[in-house]
């Protein structure tokens, strides 16, 4: 089970090449074992599943909420919710897209109900001096993504930010791969002014 890797985050598997492909297959088999154990009530197995998906899920949560604390809370709520609903995960279905969908929905709930509190603009990583133009550019992008409809925002973040294949995004959003591509293309049209992009290819 130690060979299982978070293949959804970062895209490039550290195993590389053919070994990576083999690793993915092993990961799927191992993941299904973990899922089976978790469904039977094995907390350790569930913890391991979470561990494998945390990087992807946490990056999505932060991108959706732009607040570290809220993102961690949403992630935890999603983890609790997923544990309760683990029996809904169809046999053979990958855990990560299913869990990511729960995280996305949890984030959406948080966004809906958050108007009682100040949403903090995220910390700029360059701590001491702020390059005004860059900061504004990054903020412009955050705002533009933030203003996208939920499904477009989720699609663009899952595919481009988290490097999830379109097939997995489709599972996470519960729509067809064509639907994912449509949403991504619509989102890109709206992001283009902020991104100054003329063309972006969606990799299936």
């Amino acid at each position: 089970m130690n060979t299982v890797r978070d293949t959804g985050a970062g895209g490039a598997s550290p195993l590389g090449g053919i070994a990576a492909h083999s690793g993915v297959r092993m990961a799927n088999l191992a993941e299904q074992e973990l899922v089976a154990h978790a469904k039977a009530g094995d907390r350790k197995a569930y913890e391991r599943l979470l561990e494998l998906s945390t990087r992807t899920a946490s990056r999505l949560a932060f991108a959706m909420l732009l607040d570290r604390s809220e993102a961690e809370d949403a992630l935890q709520d999603a983890a609790l919710r997923a544990w309760k609903r683990l029996s809904n995960l169809r046999p053979g279905s990958p855990f990560q897209p299913w869990f990511v969908a729960i995280v996305a929905n949890q984030c959406r709930e948080v966004r809906r109900g958050r108007w009682w509190q100040v949403v903090r603009v995220p910390e700029v990583t360059r701590a001491e001096t702020i390059d005004e133009a860059d900061w504004l550019e990054g903020e412009d992008l955050r705002r533009a993504v933030n203003q996208l409809p939920f499904d477009q925002r989720a699609a663009i973040l899952l595919h481009f930010h988290l490097d999830m294949p379109v097939d997995d995004v489709a599972i996470a959003l519960g729509i067809s791969t064509g639907g994912v591509k449509k949403r991504i293309n619509r989102a890109l049209k709206r992001l283009r002014p902020a991104m100054a992009l003329s063309e972006v290819k969606v990799n299936g």
């Binding site: 907390r43 569930y46 913890e47 979470l50 561990e51 945390t54 946490s58 990056r59 932060f62 991108a63 732009l66 570290r68 993102a71 992630l75 935890q76 609790l80 544990w83 609903r85 809904n88 969908a101 729960i102 996305a104 929905n105 959406r108 709930e109 109900g113 958050r114 108007w115 009682w116 509190q117 949403v119 903090r120 603009v121 910390e123 990583t125 702020i130 900061w135 504004l136 990054g138 903020e139 992008l141 955050r142 705002r143 993504v145 203003q147 409809p149 939920f150 663009i156 481009f160 930010h161 996470a172 959003l173 519960g174 729509i175 890109l188 991104m195 992009l197 972006v200 290819k201 969606v202």
Partner: protein, 501 residues
């Protein structure tokens, strides 16, 4: 190009180091253990699946439940429907209720669509036990108006009509940007009811009854084009050319409809005094920057006086701006509400962003008393030298007691969203639960720890319903000001095999 997009996204959405916190997983597993222990410790009995009380409050639940049973016993002796007289609101220890589970089939249940029976469109709570509900058929069948007289124990179908969009999930929320149609107006005696829908047999239509639902009339709306489905932030609603369709009914007879004008630079505003049977063109209202009657919220509190709140999401320059009319909607004058007590907030040491109030709703309780609810927004950069707003801040309320001629200074409130029952009694949610005030927001009392609900609708300080959900509606009803909630029985049953997240 895709690489550049990825790089920019990675940079813009970098959460920084040690995220999530290295202890996140162990904390989560500890929370999971706690939840499991709590659920094992819970007592049995019939309880809505999404109301799962915390262990710490079980004893309080039992004690107060007894009190409520007594209270409801007293209620059953009341035979006259309508507004219940003043009753004291219990102030005992708040009851913890875990958040309701919001089922979202939009992303998770496409395969289950055929198993869904009906979709909620609107719920209107008229009196403590009388509720009107409008539901779409998921399978493409007719849309139906139902009514209950006994708090949901029995529902009667009142009218139905074919609906080409009945299987499309819609929202039951009442935010300013949500569908301005699909709402029910009920007369004080409960016999007259008027429902405006985008999808009647005549297109956008009005359904009207004057005999408690025994007979219904259907009238079309005076539109140049019929609505189409429009989606915004994952919510779909009908409209003509973006948001462009407004309807507001002061009562079951008098109402206004705003649609795209015959001239592109104007809005047409129509008026009826006979429940929509006949319409007259009141005015062609010119559109100008920050003012388009089809983009925002219209509220009339008399035949002549009304307010229009522009949609600030399209134009931040209209924050704190309302437009008032005294001639029934023919002409509108802008009015800017008072400044917020703070102009900027510090988001990190020595980094400030401006804060501004964007109006999200207006409500009049009579022709004099009204409240404007704002959601403050925080700046996050500049564009063309002007601040842009993208964050959310606290909620401020402005009040009037002279029909909107003068408005109070902004008053910070702890809760949002708020259901404004009357000029003094308000109920709302905070991060920690449901709170209420009986003095117009001066003081707040915690009522219960109640999870996220999209909407509340209280007919008096004690009796209310709350609901959430999209393709599957979960609704609850309270008779004690929100301390206790029972699941509201709806006129259809969801199949037990439905699985959603």
């Amino acid at each position: 190009m895709a690489e550049r997009l990825k790089r920019n996204l990675a940079s813009a959405f970098d959460p920084g180091p040690d995220f999530p916190h290295r202890l996140w997983l162990s904390r989560t597993m500890a929370a999971l253990d706690l939840e499991d222990r709590a659920s094992r410790g819970r007592s049995g009995g019939v309880r809505p699946a999404w109301l799962t009380p915390a262990v710490a409050a079980l004893l309080a639940v039992a004690i107060v439940a007894t009190l409520v049973l007594v209270g409801r016993g007293l209620r059953s002796e009341q035979t006259t429907p309508g507004k219940v007289g003043p009753r004291s609101v219990a102030t005992s220890k708040p009851i913890r209720v875990d958040p309701p589970t919001v089922l979202d089939c939009r992303t998770q249940c496409p395969d289950e669509a055929g198993k869904l029976h009906e979709l909620p469109i609107a719920l209107t709570y008229f009196s403590p036990n009388a509720i009107w509900g409008i539901f779409n058929s998921r399978s493409g069948g007719p849309s139906t108006i139902y009514r209950t007289h006994d708090g949901g124990q029995h529902w009667q179908a009142q009218a139905n009509w074919s609906n080409p969009h009945s299987s499309t999930p819609s929202t039951t929320g009442d935010a300013a940007w949500s569908n301005p149609l699909e709402h029910m107006t009920v007369s004080a005696d409960g016999r007259e009811a008027l429902f405006v829908t985008s999808w009647g047999d005549l297109g956008a239509s009005i359904f009207y009854t004057k005999d408690g639902g025994a007979h219904w009339a259907s009238y079309g709306l005076p539109l140049m084009a019929q609505p189409t489905w429009l989606c915004h932030d994952n919510l779909c609603y009908p409209g003509v050319d973006d948001f462009g369709l407004q309807a507001f009914f002061l009562n079951t007879h008098e109402g206004w409809v705003v649609s795209k004008g015959s001239v592109a630079t104007t809005d047409d505003i129509f008026h009826t005094t006979d429940s929509g049977a006949h319409w007259s063109l009141l005015a062609n209202v010119p559109i100008r920057p920050g003012f388009d009657l089809r983009h925002g919220q219209i509220e009339f509190h008399s035949s002549s006086a009304g307010l229009f709140v522009p949609d600030y999401t399209n134009d931040s320059s209209v924050a704190r701006t309302v437009f008032s009319t005294v001639d029934g909607g023919a002409t509108w004058q802008p009015r800017t509400l008072g400044d917020l007590p703070v102009k900027r907030i510090e988001i990190k040491p020595n980094v400030y962003v401006p804060i501004e109030a964007a109006i999200v709703g207006v409500k009049f309780f009579n022709d004099r008393d009204g409240v404007i609810e704002t959601q403050s927004v925080t700046g996050c950069g500049t564009s063309g030298g002007q601040p842009t707003f993208c964050g959310y801040g606290p909620t401020y309320l402005y009040a009037t007691s002279d029909g909107g001629r003068n408005w109070s200074a902004p008053r910070l409130t702890v809760a949002a969203p708020i259901d404004l029952v009357d000029a003094k009694d308000w109920i709302g949610t905070t991060m920690s639960g449901l709170v209420r005030t009986s003095d117009g927001g001066q003081t707040w009392q915690e009522v219960s720890v109640f999870g996220h609900a999209e909407s509340f609708d209280f007919v008096d300080p004690l009796d209310g319903i709350a609901w959430s959900g999209y393709c599957v509606l979960h609704a609850v009803i309270t008779y004690d000001g929100g301390m206790h909630w029972n699941e509201l029985n709806l006129p259809y049953q969801q199949p037990p095999s439905l699985t959603c997240i």
